[in-house]
Every structure is written in structure tokens, then in C-alpha cells.
Amino acid sequence: MRDVAVVSYAQTPFVRSERARNEVEMLMPVIDEVVEKSGIERRKIGFTCSGSTDYLAGQSFSFVMAVDAVGAWPPICESHVEMDGAWALYEAWVKIQCGEVDSALVFSFGRSSMGETAETMTLQTDPYTLAPLGPDAISMAALQARAGLDRGLWSEREMAEVAVRSRRDALRNPEAQLKGEFDVDEILAEPYLVSPLRKHDCPPVSDGAAAAVIAAADVARQACEKPVWIRGIEHRLDSHQPGSRDLTLSPSTKAAGEAAGASSGRLDIAELHAPFSHQEIILKQALGLSDSVKINPSGGALAANPILTAGLARIGEASRQIVAGNGRRALAHATSGPCLQQNLVCILEGD
């Protein structure tokens, strides 16, 4: 395997609503910034891969317009996944492993504010047996939270503590959306949104775009002072039907973590893509993270959850922490699908 590093990361501030700018206008400055920071000339970047979904934009082929922001002239070698940008980064990493290219631009984007995200996510469920019942994303997560509460695996207080810590940490992240000092007892006194989830257990609706440049060792060393090495990147999928798996566990996260080498060295930081508070507890357990690992210094997905961008943002935030010297080894995680169905783990290390 070739050594590959994240050499730069950039994002828009994640916000409740990007009403003024369209996707291209949102992306262009982010891509300019990430290419500039990478120290690699735009024309020399060998591959481009993006992640997005048509159901955010409300139109077919919505990723096609994003090409306008990339500078695809003369034509470029490019691909797109209908997945979170973290998987776009995986495809780019594979491309570099093939030896055909030495560097790649990865990005993802979306404006959840245009639609009704939680309801739209119903269309992710089995169209024959589940979608007709109309389970939205929050209800599915609530089923999962309930399963763990009833089994005594976590408490509502522990869930609230995750939310409070996330939004407090987000105060130090200028690009986070939902931040502030909250009190556990006060939020526990609030009514349920979808029992047993309260509003604070759920992610905000966020718009945003993020981009990263990754490169093979020789290019990365030349272009960049502090490359952040991808020591392992793996992803796995769980069963779709919520009735056919134990919702309180995440075997795919566990398997991806083991394959990526999560336990082969001391971790300082973990950026976990847990859109709902109880999911952080599930992920922490699946990955076997000890209490010494700092979780979600960025505030995580509870502070900003741009759909299909939040996973790539975890890799970006983890690499930022390493560059800032806040840790040497970090785990970044991305999820997709109802109740943490699909999961990716990326192990990052500074020099």
C-alpha cells in the first residue's frame, strides 16, 4: 500500500440555511481554498471525486452542476458517489493505491434546508415493507435509543451529557452551527420530540460544503509541511431491516475499526459521526474507545449535520486537530443510512 496523506481541508461554515448561494456558489470558494492550501497546482491534481444526493437538491443529476465549481477544463478524471464525501475520499484513496494518480480532490455538498430532510430520509428505507409505513429519520433513531434505554445500556442523562458536551466544544469551532452552554438538568426537563429523543438529542438541519486534498507520500511531503497520514481506511455495511439486527450494537463500525487498525496504537482524538446523542455511545463502545480519547472536539454532528458532508467533515476536523498539535493519532468515522447502517473508519496520524 502507498502512504497517502490528507494535505488540506476546507469547508463552508455549516449553517441552518444557505438561502442566498446555490451549490456552485457555495462550493467554489471552498475548492479554491482547499487547492490553494494543498500546495498542489490545480491542473496537477490527478483525480476528483464527490459525494452528494439528488434528494437534497430535489432534482436528478444534481451533482452534475457541481462540476462547474471544480475547473473541469481541460477535462478531468472524475467520479461521484451517491454517498457521504467520506466514501468519495475512500474511492480517491483507492485510485491513488492503483498508482494511476498521485493526488486527488474530494468534496461533498448539500443544502438540507431546501427540503424536509427527516421525512425525505424515509425514502432510504425498503420501498416494499418499510417506506409505506413512513418511518422518518428521527423515528428510526428513536427506536434505536429506546432499545438501549430499555436494556439499561445508557440513560437519558448520559444522552443529554453527550449533547451538552458537544455543543460546549462547538463554542471553539467557528464553523459549527449549534453551540452554547446548556445544563443537563434543564434540558432533561424539556418535553420529548419523538420519545425518547428530545430536541437536544437530535442534530440540527445544516447546509454546507467541505473539501479535502489527499496525496501520495512523495507529493504530500513536497507540497505540505504537516501531512496527516491515512494509516487505515475501511468501511462496512450492516443489515437494513431494523428488525433483523440488534440496534444497540454497530458490528459494521467494529469491523471497520478493527480492519483500519483502530486498536493498534494509542488514540488521542476521535471524530465520530453520531447524528443522535445515543449513537455516540454505541460507536464509542463498538470502537472500544477509552475515556482518555477526546471525542468530537469539533462539536460533532450534534453541532452541525450537513447530510452527506458531515462524514467527510469528521475526517477534515480530525486532521485539523493533528495539524494544530492537539493530538498525534486520531480516528475519524462516517455513517450513512438509518440507525448507523453503514460505517467508515479512518485512522489518521501526524508525523
Partner: protein
């Protein structure tokens, strides 16, 4: 056939998703022009080529298009087709002629309907002008231009418009 042996071949799940579309900064400026009966394109900051409707970027340069350029309401047919097949959501009545039109001063074509002439008279290089709805009906919508019609100007030779096809 008994019910047990009849295969289920169809189930209907009505799906309703609603969206609030916003045009973006560049297209928003264009629509404000259209609302006032003006066609306002934007020139690329780096190569100067003029886009209409502008979408915020010159894809060729990946640069913003910040300079506004007012365009003529006349142009040239670059290519066209005659649509005779019904399709979902189409606003025109069948059959209709849809053409790529290069407005004078623009560097990119836009789609428009050709009317007030026979289909077999439509040709590449033909000069046309925009026909607008009555002013009282103008909205933030390119549909303010109902169609284009031929004008008494000589055709533009193919050689001069080749690079826009």
C-alpha cells in the same frame, strides 16, 4: 386462480417531498432583470466570456462571473429540434420547435421556443428576437419571454457560429 397463487405485482406508495428552491446569487440578479424586461448576463472574471442565464461560475475557468452585461433581445439559432412527443411537465403545446439561441453579446446559448413561422423554415443561422409577455404579467421567471420569432435579417454564416454548437 386462488389468492394464494396470485403474485403481488404492484403496490402503490404515494411519495410527497417538497422543496424550497432558491436561485443563487448570480441567477437571482438575472431574474431581477427579467422581472424588469431586461436580459442581464454576467462576464467571467478571468476570461470575460458572457453567460446567460448566469449560474455563478464560468465552468471553463472555475471563476466567478461578477460583471453584469445587458444583452440584446435578438440572437441567432445555433441548433434546434422539433418535439412531437408528449413529456411530463413540459410547458409548451405539441408539436413545438425548441432551439439553442445565441443572444447577441452572449457566449453561451439558451433554450427557447421558435414560433410565428413554419417549422420547415427554421434553420441553423436564422436570426430571431424575443417576444415578451405583456409587462403586467412579468415575474421572476424566464418564461416572461414566451417565445422567439424570425426577424428580417440575413442568416449568420455557419462558419461564424460553429464554435457555439
Amino acid at each position: 386462480m386462488s389468492e394464494e397463487s396470485t403474485a403481488v405485482t404492484k403496490l402503490v406508495t404515494p411519495v410527497r417531498v417538497s422543496y424550497t428552491y432558491t436561485p443563487g446569487v448570480a441567477t437571482g440578479k438575472f431574474l431581477r432583470g427579467i422581472r424588469r424586461g431586461k436580459i442581464i448576463g454576467q462576464a467571467c472574471d478571468s476570461c470575460g466570456r458572457v453567460y446567460v442565464p448566469p449560474r455563478g461560475a464560468c465552468p471553463r475557468c472555475a471563476s466567478p462571473t461578477s460583471q453584469e452585461v445587458e444583452l440584446a433581445h435578438k440572437g441567432t439559432i445555433i441548433t434546434f429540434c422539433v418535439v412531437r412527443v408528449p413529456s411530463e411537465n413540459i410547458d409548451a403545446e405539441l408539436p413545438y420547435c425548441a432551439a439553442s439561441i445565441l443572444l447577441d453579446g452572449a457566449d453561451i446559448t439558451l433554450f427557447g421556443l421558435i414560433q410565428e413561422c413554419k417549422f420547415d423554415e427554421v434553420r441553423i443561422g436564422m436570426r430571431v428576437e424575443a417576444v415578451w409577455k405583456p409587462e403586467s404579467e412579468w415575474e421572476y421567471n424566464l418564461a416572461n419571454i414566451v417565445h422567439y420569432r424570425p426577424i428580417e435579417e440575413p442568416d449568420v454564416p455557419y462558419e461564424q457560429i460553429k464554435e457555439y454548437s
